[in-house]
Symmetry: C2
Subunit: 352 residues, 2 copies
DNA sequence: TTGAAAGCGCTAACAA
DNA sequence: TTGTTAGCGCTTTCAA
């Protein structure tokens, strides 16, 4: 055991220049103490002679020792990792959620596996299997939200699963969503408060739950104000600027009284609408006020006038997801669907 | 050791409903064979009596056994994981790279840790430490590309690091970038081929390497065609639609002959330019042809006419990054900066 | 064809 | 105050 040089066992550079990470054993050998003692020193556990502790810490530093998480995890039966399973190919919505979630978990020393499985159940299954093999402490599921998705099957593991920005049928599942209905209500109420009475609504395909909920919020706000939501004032179309453009032209040609406001199901639609109105010489917000949904910076700042829009607070959603997942990992049992409040960000397009 | 029921050791549901994953030991116990035999059966190694193998596989399935990757990794000194370190807060560029990379690595059974460290060196350091602790087999670094970033310090580990869509000063580093210069050249050459002679260039802030390289490509193409790049024809501004709008107006007011084409450093600028031109009654592409950069679907499809744009092929970049990282993990030693070809996607805005 | 046991790197309980 | 050792779950060599 005598005082071996640090380069004793492992540190011979291989062909690749890669070298095995030093182990606690290496530290013990160099510091001329037992493994248990090193462990004690590093984890600041029992009592040790200051001198010994110092020496161990010094050696550890010199050797570049860093405990092997896998070995630790094996021992603790806690991997300190979670998996994020996503089926959103684009990432515009899920990326902010990712970020916020990762931020929250990283604070607790938990690392995040990113798994993409765009529209491919087989791939998703492989990912889940892999995550189970890695003994993740929890799984987060996000999705493009056209519809409820089938639940993720984690077998008998009882592993915590949380659905964010996505929903599933399993009544025991825990789902976290933005408040589409509330957001739509906020937008509509704001327009009403500004004196608008003939408020139209252009939105995406009705198979999206979000579309149905936003329409619901829009309707409720109108009804609460004693206004009617004329059927012709609602248009369901694609989620694109061009669709918004066309829908706006259509609205202008209706025999109905012309709307004095249009609440759009997303910012792209709103932008198309603005485009059409400008082309037709309709003043925004003077003649028609516009409100969008998503508060997507690229869109809302580029329109003229800048676009008032509903913000789903995706980062808050991600943080909340992180907190809840941590709670579940800690043993709490959460179920049901929860909605996080949206916010209205007022700019010039609504004439506030 | 006699035939114990499957529920012998672990499977009592805890308070949380979580139960420890069955181990190979559990399988062995239930199947009434030794651990080594189970291992052989599962890994299809040595020769076993078919009967025994069948039984083991059946028991494993019934118990929901799945090998613990951490234990395997510990043994093999290969974690089968890599980390992605990103400082791109927005994700528009890095997300497609992520996806493609993850796809490639997942095919090899390698899982990806996602680490975000937007503009925070401390956080980045923590992430690197964590990844080292997890004994990842490699690290991928992506960044918002305003400038070269300091190299990631992986200590003496000799761990493979690859910089994608980002660059560092370390001459031993391996960097993978889109070919900004080549992309710009493609765009400019295309305009020249269409007969344009007075080609302006509006781009982002010059501190971006991409801006300098794209300008270089633009210039080289002009020079190769015997044209001059008038200094007034180059405008460096912010990366926004509004900036593009203003720059276009500025160009129109120059005492110079009016340009007959504008190559823009990104699609947002191009969109602002289109906006300005439409407002001024300048026909696109008849009077002025426009080409953008990024080929960002949301932009290129929404403009009228639709926008011709340079595609950096980010997914290809991600795939290539995955392949190269795998090669490095396998022991190959790669250095230097490599550029992946960009493509010109022709639409109506250039009058092809 | 199967079993036993060492070892991967670490922690923690127990001995000295 | 320090050392020894039994595991954590798995693979692999060597024995039986």
């Amino acid at each position: 055991m005598a005082g071996n040089a640090p380069t004793d066992r492992p540190l011979k550079p291989e062909l690749t220049g890669r070298r095995p990470a030093p182990t606690i054993r290496d530290v013990a050998r160099v510091a001329e103490v037992s493994i248990g003692t090193v462990s004690k020193a590093l984890n600041e556990h029992g009592r040790l002679r200051t001198e010994t502790r110092q020496k161990i810490l010094r050696v550890a530093r010199e050797l570049g020792y860093r405990p092997n998480d896998m070995a630790q995890s094996l021992h603790r039966a806690k991997s300190m990792t979670v998996g994020i399973l996503s089926t959103d190919s684009f990432g515009r919505f899920t990326y902010p959620i990712f970020q916020a979630l990762e931020e929250r978990l990283a604070d607790q020393g938990i690392a995040v596996f990113m798994c993409n499985a765009t529209d491919d159940p087989v791939r998703e299954r492989q990912h889940v299997e892999q995550l189970l093999g890695k003994r993740v402490d929890g799984i987060v599921v996000t999705a493009r939200r056209s519809d409820r998705r089938p639940p993720v099957d984690v077998g008998i593991s009882g592993l915590p699963v949380i659905y964010v920005f996505s929903q599933t049928d399993d009544p025991d599942a825990f789902c976290l969503l933005p408040d589409d209905e509330g957001g739509a209500r906020l937008a509509t109420e704001h327009l009403i408060r500004l004196g608008r009475r003939r408020i139209a609504h252009i939105s995406g395909p009705e198979r999206f739950g979000a579309v149905r909920l936003r329409r619901l919020g829009y309707r409720k706000a109108l009804e609460a104000a004693g206004l009617v939501a004329a059927d012709d004032y609602f248009i369901s179309t694609r989620w694109s600027e061009r669709a918004g453009y066309e829908a706006a032209l259509h609205l202008l040609e209706l025999p109905l009284p012309r709307p004095d406001a249009i609440f759009c199901g997303n910012d792209q639609l709103a932008r198309g609408v603005l485009d059409a109105l400008r082309e037709r010489g309709v003043a925004v917000p003077a003649d028609i006020a516009i409100v969008g949904f998503d508060n997507w910076d690229v869109m809302v700042e580029a329109t003229r006038p800048r676009l008032t829009s509903v913000d789903m607070n995706l980062r808050a959603l991600g943080h909340e997801a992180g907190d809840k997942l941590l709670a579940m990992i800690a043993g709490q049992h959460l179920v049901g669907t929860h909605h996080l409040p949206a916010t209205l960000v007022v700019r010039e397009s609504c004439g506030a």
